[in-house]
């Protein structure tokens, strides 16, 4: 594995594009995007034709900067009866015009008597660069901040009660193998991957670990307590800030592989179980899953894949697909948090090149030169690459399909197999 820094301009969809998707994922949430016309236009342009009515824009007038407390007043005005949570998303323009998002959120929370989270969509990361999924990270960090905070002893009690209540309706499966779990486990992430959390909860239950909740919550279960002693399993590679927010609350963030791909899931389950005090081995299960996936692996074996995506999921996906027998030509990483992804990077195969801050023109040239079998391409490169005769797949498709856990590994391989099948069917046509 080699890491190169190209210091270029990668093609990255702005993180704010995800506002609508996140609002749909958080029922009861009202999202207020504060900024100028630019932010409102960005969100509207990159959203479906009929955007979610729970997303609203506080459009600031640059000639008449808002007074302190005005945004909180608007939040109170916008919050309807069904609102359970308010998220104030403020970016660079809002802070240039003097909006103190944290203060406005506190004020609005007091006035509304509801949890209000402040999300700074443009706060810089320790490593330079932007990922299209950064807003997810910020929103999840804000949600972690809104989780109830209790001491370990209370948390353990709550977890044992939750066990009796049967979280996610999966009580039965975990019960017989429960091995005296010591700490409550919270899963963090998979906001835009439906079904991922439920699958992982089931897998953890099989290993004897009851999950006390997930952030964002699933099925209206509410945000779980996160505090001292809580074991947090991070599911996505882009959640550096959310993981830090959990750590700041005293939670133990498990340093392991992400539950993407077979080996990643096995390591994740094993390490989370160990951290929660319920040791188990996943070697046998992982081996059987690899065997089950044999036919699908044959479809990707030897295929040359170029990752030019913008989501941050490319690194674990490349790790999995390389393990499954594909040839990974290059992994573009618009931002690479080496500290957070250290386990992932250590596990990447020796033949994989990671290019940090790739220049989109350079990527186009390298793709032209290498002629890969499939390119995982960001939205700006998608049409130009298809026009040049390349087979492409947007990285968002993998995320939406739900790429976590053993079932997620199957879905990833199926998605690629479908892509190849479709291309072959089209190529076979005589036009």
């Amino acid at each position: 594995m080699t890491i190169l820094n190209e210091s270029g301009i990668p093609d990255v969809l702005p993180p704010l594009h995800a506002v609508n998707g996140l609002a749909q994922r958080l029922p009861g949430a009202l999202v207020i995007v504060a900024g100028t016309r630019a932010e409102a236009h960005l969100v509207r342009s990159l959203s479906p034709a009929l955007p979610d009515p729970r997303v609203t824009f506080a459009v600031l007038d640059p000639d008449d900067p808002p007074q302190q407390g005005q945004l909180a007043g608007l939040a109170v005005e916008a919050a309807g009866r069904g609102t359970e949570l308010v998220l104030l998303v403020c970016g660079r323009t809002a802070s240039s015009l003097g909006v103190d998002a944290a203060f406005e959120a506190r004020l609005a929370a007091r006035k509304l008597d509801l949890p209000v989270g402040a999300v700074d969509s443009d706060a810089p990361y320790p490593t330079p660069g932007v990922l299209s999924t950064d807003l997810e990270d910020r929103v999840l960090a804000a949600l972690v901040g809104l989780c109830p905070k209790r001491r370990t002893s209370e948390l353990v009690e709550a977890a044992s009660q939750a066990k009796r209540g049967g979280l996610f309706g999966l009580r039965g499966r975990g019960r017989e193998e429960a091995t005296g779990q010591g700490r409550p486990v919270v899963l963090l992430g998979a906001a835009l991957s439906p079904g991922s959390v439920a699958g992982l909860v089931a897998e953890l239950a099989r290993t004897g670990v009851e999950v006390s909740g997930a952030v964002p919550d699933v099925g209206g279960a509410g945000l779980p307590p996160v505090g001292e002693g809580t074991v947090v399993g991070v599911l996505d590679p882009n959640l550096g800030t959310a993981a830090d927010a959990s750590r700041d609350r005293g939670a133990r963030v498990v340093r392991t592989l992400l539950p993407i791909g077979v080996d990643g899931t096995a390591r994740f389950l094993q390490d989370v179980a160990a951290e929660a005090g319920a040791g188990s081995s996943e070697v046998v299960r992982a081996r059987s899953v690899w065997e089950e996936l044999g036919a699908l692996r044959n479809r990707v074996r030897g295929k040359r894949i170029f990752f030019a995506g913008d989501t941050g999921f490319e690194v674990p996906l490349a790790r999995f697909l390389a393990d499954a027998g594909a040839v990974v030509l290059e992994v573009g990483a618009p931002r690479l948090d080496r500290r957070f992804l250290s386990e992932e990077l250590q596990t990447l195969g020796p033949g994989v090149d990671v290019v940090v801050s790739p220049d989109w023109r350079g990527q186009l040239q390298r793709i032209e030169a290498a002629r890969p079998d499939v390119v995982v391409a960001s939205p700006g490169l998608y049409a130009p690459l298809v026009a040049r005769g390349h087979l492409c797949r947007p990285p968002r498709d993998f995320v939406r399909a739900g790429l976590h856990g053993y079932e997620g590994a199957r879905r990833v391989l199926e998605l690629l197999a479908k892509t190849f099948d479709r291309a072959e069917a089209l190529d076979a046509l005589s036009l």
Binding site: I9, P14, R37, A40, H41, A58, L71, P379, G380
Partner: protein
């Protein structure tokens, strides 16, 4: 500060980028935050022509000054020509975040002073809060000013410049095609299409035309006024929408190009009998089909005015409300709208627009994609014919000219049943 459910127009930088992406050989440098470069994705998804958007991001606050990482604006601007060999003009667009940061626009030597290409067009008139249409208009004027050749003789045969809509405009390419087809029928050739598909060479020879035909006034106004003032090129500003508007525009072109008016009339009649179906539609339907039926029209400038006039005068609907979101063209719009409706209004808040439309209880809404919720709530048909329109057809259909009037007749027939 206002609470809005959406916006009709993007920021000024978006207008400049739309203009640059419309043309060939023009490259835009977007000075913006690292997470603001959404134009390539938008272009790729909307246009679907496989061309990478001619935009380079110069990220704000991210350039590590000791290295050659992007972020140094003067270096990024000068690097564009080097990295893109075909680029003949570079234009700078600054996002609202960049404008609010107070960063100064770098100065460049006069064109040709350093032996290099032309200096970048810096659009130093950009201010926070400026809308995309106004910025596109001013940027087009700057481009025309910078490149229009001096002391060029006009062409030997009559030619006109077509100033139409930029990229993302609904059916933009088809509008130019239809206008050019009609102009060719009356014996006038097109000297240049601006901005869609125009090259810098096209801009250089703009002063050779006999007249400028302004199809889309929102973007071409200042540039055609410049050509009129500096090069004495007359303007035809009648919107080519509906059969009456198209006929009036063709006659005005005939006058500007010193054509035989009888020949122009013969062409108009021939087109009315063969191509234009809107007058036929109006005559074939029973008068009761339209009388008393209210319509609300909302959009940019040319389309709501042209469509409003055609619906009111040619079809016979009662245009009870006709509005624009282009606040900077308020007086102009209201002046023209009063010729066919008493319900002219200017509003850029989608909710208030919905309120205005709801108040007149229309049976048909002609508008933008942002009128979809109110059309659904009122359960009336919506024709999203004005920018911003959500559909992105592979085959574009015009609304201008006689061909466009027939398409309008089809859409009306479908909507009114």
């Amino acid at each position: 500060m206002r609470l809005l459910g959406g916006v009709y127009e993007g920021p000024g930088s978006h207008g400049i980028l739309r203009l640059a992406a419309s043309m060939r050989g023009v490259h835009a440098v977007l000075r913006a935050g690292p997470g603001e470069g959404y134009f390539p994705a938008l272009y790729s998804g909307r246009e679907r022509d496989g061309r990478p958007a001619p935009v380079t991001l110069s990220p704000l606050h991210e350039g590590r000054r000791e290295s050659y990482a992007p972020g140094d604006l003067p270096r990024d601007l000068s690097g564009v020509a080097r990295r893109h060999p075909g680029v003949e003009a570079v234009i700078l667009a600054r996002s609202e975040a960049a404008l609010l940061s107070g960063e100064a626009v770098p100065e460049f030597p006069a064109p040709g002073a350093d032996g290099g290409g032309p200096a970048p067009i810096t659009c130093d008139w950009q201010t926070p809060g400026m809308g995309e249409t106004e910025a596109a208009e001013l940027a087009l004027e700057d481009l025309v000013r910078a490149h229009a050749g001096a002391k060029l003789e006009r062409t030997q045969y009559p030619t006109v410049n077509l100033f139409g809509p930029p990229v993302f405009g609904p059916g933009a390419g088809a509008e130019y095609d239809e206008a050019e087809r009609l102009l060719n029928l009356v014996g006038v050739e097109v000297n240049a299409r601006v901005p869609l598909g125009a090259t810098v060479e096209d801009l250089r020879r703009l002063p050779r035309a006999w007249a400028s035909v302004l199809l889309y006034r929102e973007v071409g106004e200042s540039a055609t006024l410049f050509l009129q003032d500096e090069h004495g090129i007359g303007r035809v500003t009648t919107p080519m929408i509906g059969a009456a508007g198209t006929g009036a525009a063709l006659r005005a072109v005939g006058e500007a190009c010193e054509l035989d008016p009888r020949f122009v009339d013969r062409t108009v009649w021939s087109e009315l009998s063969r191509t234009s179906k809107l007058p036929w539609y109006a005559r074939l339907e029973r008068p009761e089909a339209f009388a008393g039926r209210r319509a609300a029209v909302f959009g940019d400038f040319t389309y709501p005015l042209g469509l409003g006039y055609a619906l009111a005068r040619e079809v016979g609907l009662d245009v009870a409300a006709c509005g624009t979101y282009l606040v900077h063209l308020e007086r102009d719009f209201l002046f023209h709208a009063q010729t066919f409706t008493e319900g002219g209004f200017v509003e850029d808040d989608p909710q208030k627009v919905a309120g205005r439309i709801e108040a007149v209880r229309p049976g048909l809404i002609v508008g933008t994609e942002l009128e979809a919720p109110i059309a659904e709530a009122l359960d009336v048909p919506l024709l999203p014919l004005c920018y911003p329109a959500g559909d992105r057809p592979f085959v574009e259909r015009p609304l201008m000219g006689y061909g466009g009037s027939s398409i309008l007749a089809d859409r009306l027939d479908e909507a009114l049943g």
